[in-house]
């Protein structure tokens, strides 16, 4: 079974979600529970760092769709950073760049949040 790991760090008011391994139908629920915890703790400003993510399936993408509105309704957002080309191409194919902000480095994404405040 493919490995997947998700961890959350806080940088100021922004939560960084580090993804590692394979995010697919099987592992999507783990990411879902991470988002549920963030919402429970009222952490709506989220940067997802894809640096160590090797693969994402559409079920994985669905998790972001399921939570982005809640974040935005609460003056937050889900922003993407450090994405590898092969992972980005899937986001691109499905039209995510129209709806989400992508950053080369998480620092830029954090800055974007901080400038908003």
């Amino acid at each position: 079974m493919a490995d997947f790991n998700v961890q959350v760090r806080g940088v100021g008011h922004v939560s960084i979600v580090d993804l590692k391994g394979y995010l697919d139908a099987h592992t999507a629920p783990e990411l879902e529970s991470t988002f549920n915890k963030l919402i429970e703790a009222s952490n709506y400003k989220v940067v997802v760092n894809f640096d160590e993510l090797a693969y994402i399936s559409s079920a994985g993408l669905g998790v972001f769709m399921a939570y982005v509105e809640t974040m935005r309704e609460n003056n937050g957002d889900i922003k993407f950073a450090n994405m590898k080309d092969n992972v980005y191409s899937i986001f691109d194919l499905l039209g995510f760049p129209m709806l989400y902000e992508f950053f080369k480095d998480e620092v830029e994404a954090i800055e974007k949040f901080n400038n908003q405040d």
């Binding site: 697919d24 139908a25 099987h26 999507a28 629920p29 879902e32 399936s57 559409s58 079920a59 994985g60 993408l61 669905g62 998790v63 972001f64 769709m65 399921a66 982005v68 509105e69 899937i90 194919l93 499905l94 039209g95 995510f96 129209m98 709806l99």
Partner: protein
């Protein structure tokens, strides 16, 4: 005069060669169009220009422009490439914006569009040389435009293919995942994530239908609202995907909460659930291919959901069967383990439950050194309920027989106890009697049970004396008992209706007549042999058919 002309021709030629090299080095449409305009500007000293290309619906669409404001371009009239020159709207547009010359862009096969230029700097008119230069530019450009259009088309086909491949990949992943999941909630989650990730949807709900009641698996629509809608909505009416006008007309409520697409999940063309989706976040309409994708994922999911449900049911059934197995063991222990043998009597008994827990009961209880109690009963109903009532009866019987009360009076008591302890509609047919081994007598009471058969000298005497079935009402008319003197060779058959009503494969009952014929012909056998041959007879009769009722018999032989 010729010399400067020659120079001009050379300049023209070198510009054309440059241009040709440039635009043929790229397959990017915008790059080509831009350079066509720029070359015209530099060579013809134009300051404004636009290129409009033929779009799919055969009207011209401005693809690039310079020197005009966006506002002006937005007023470009809706004209076709075939007759724009004569179109009054176009004439007005050209007039107002000082468009002085237009050249059609035509390749060997197709009319591609038109290049229009405004006033020249300084205001001089375009002469014949200018026109032929423009013609040449456009001819060279045409090929480049056509090539880049083909490339664009290829790119978009490729992108669509990639998207399709991705959808297939998702389907493949899901089919693997779904087949391994046996929890309905989990299937719902994966179904939703896959769809909304693939199609960029944030408003959705998934409901399933079992036994006419809805179950909401996932929803981003407030649950109360959703319940209000699906309550009124007949699920079986939805057998194919619904969107657009049809949704507006027939399912207005869905539209009110922002649902734009309703896709049924079906098993063998029966609708078992619905996937409800809101507008796509990228504002793109659902394509046929999207709908097919959702339908396919839905079909996979609903089969998995159905499997999960069946699995849960099977587990529950197993648990229930285990309970029954325990009940059966308890019940078996309620029946006598070893039957006491007397000086002048042989007793044999047989019992077989139709289900794991039955409602038949028999007992043989030693009262004192010469008296023995025999009993047989059939509790109404089957299964656990019947078994509980039977256990009750056994407890009453065991306690009453210790009190040494005449059997008719004891019957009054037992009926009162059973009546108090049964719910409406439960009852017991009951026969019991006391054998006196010394006096060779049987004193019995029959409370509505199939009359036992006393066979004596090739004749049958039915033991009918007694009273009402137990448990219908408390005792108002006392039970009567009868004492019979028994003779050597008498045989008494106690049985339940499981024997007389045993069904053959042809759905015919064993019947009282057959039983009576059979017992009359049984001679010179021990009690054990009598019962074995009776049971064998019944078994042969019902060969292959299901045993529908408990079968119990108790045989008494007088020696």
């Amino acid at each position: 005069m010729q010399y400067p002309d020659k120079n001009a021709a050379l300049r023209n030629l070198s510009a054309l060669v440059d241009f040709s090299n440039l635009i043929n080095s790229s397959l990017d449409l915008n790059f080509t169009l831009n350079n066509m305009l720029l070359t015209c500007f530099s060579k013809l000293l134009a300051t404004k220009g636009l290129i409009a290309l033929n779009s799919n619906n055969n009207s011209l669409e401005v693809k690039t422009f310079k020197g005009f404001s966006k506002d002006i371009i937005s007023q470009f009239p809706n004209v076709s490439i075939d007759d724009f020159e004569n179109n009054p709207d176009f004439k007005n547009f050209a007039e107002e914006n000082n468009i002085r010359i237009c050249q059609k862009i035509v390749s060997s096969n197709n009319k591609l569009g038109v290049l229009c230029l405004g006033q020249r700097m300084g205001g001089s008119l375009y002469d014949e040389d200018d026109k032929s230069f423009l013609q040449t530019i456009v001819n060279i450009g045409a090929t480049a435009i056509e090539n880049s259009q083909i490339v664009e088309e290829l790119k978009s086909v490729n992108k669509r293919l990639d998207a399709k491949v991705n959808q297939l990949g998702s389907l493949f992943d899901l089919s693997k995942e779904f087949s391994g999941i046996l929890k309905v909630e989990m299937v719902g989650k994966l179904l939703v994530f896959s769809i909304i990730g693939q199609l960029l949807v944030s408003k959705f709900a998934v409901v399933t239908c079992e036994n006419n009641s809805y179950r909401i698996l996932e929803t981003k629509i407030p649950e109360e609202k959703l319940k209000g809608i699906i309550k009124d909505c007949n699920l079986n009416k939805i057998t194919s995907p619904i969107r657009g006008d049809e949704l507006n007309k027939e399912f207005e409520d869905f539209r009110k909460v922002g649902i734009e697409l309703v896709i049924p999940m079906t098993i063998k063309s029966e609708t078992k659930g619905l996937i409800l989706l809101g507008r796509r976040k990228n504002e793109v309409e659902y394509t046929q291919s999207d709908i097919e994708f959702v339908s396919s994922v839905g079909s996979l999911a609903i089969i998995s959901i159905e499997n999960a449900r069946l699995f849960e049911e099977a587990i529950e059934k197993q648990r229930l069967e285990k309970d029954l197995e325990i009940a059966r063991n308890i019940q078996r222990n309620l029946l006598p383990g070893r039957i006491p043998q007397l000086k002048n009597f042989e007793i044999a008994a047989f019992n077989k439950s139709a289900r794991q827990v039955g409602g038949d009961y028999y007992d043989v209880v030693t009262l004192d050194d010469h008296r023995t109690l025999i009993a047989i009963a059939d509790v109404s109903g089957k299964g656990v309920q019947a078994a509980l009532l039977m256990a009750n009866l056994q407890a009453f019987l065991k306690s009453i027989c210790k009190q040494n009360i005449p059997i008719n009076e004891a019957s009054n008591l037992i009926n009162d106890l059973v009546s108090e302890n049964t719910t409406m509609g439960s009852f017991i047919t009951f026969f019991w009697g006391i054998i006196d081994d010394e006096a060779r007598t049987l004193t019995y009471v029959n409370a509505g049970h199939n009359p036992p058969l006393l066979v004596r000298d090739n004749e049958i005497i039915k033991l009918r004396i007694g009273g009402m079935i137990l448990g219908v009402m408390s005792t108002t008319i006392p039970y009567e008992s009868e004492e019979i003197e028994l003779r050597k060779g008498d045989r008494i058959y106690l049985f339940t209706d499981g024997i007389t009503e045993a069904m053959s494969m042809d759905n015919e009952e064993f019947s009282d007549e057959k039983l009576e014929d059979f017992v009359l012909n049984q001679k010179d056998l021990s009690a054990d042999e009598l019962i074995n041959s009776l049971m064998k007879e019944v078994r042969n009769y019902t060969a292959g058919a299901d045993q529908s009722d408990d079968i119990t018999s108790l045989i008494l032989k007088v020696n």
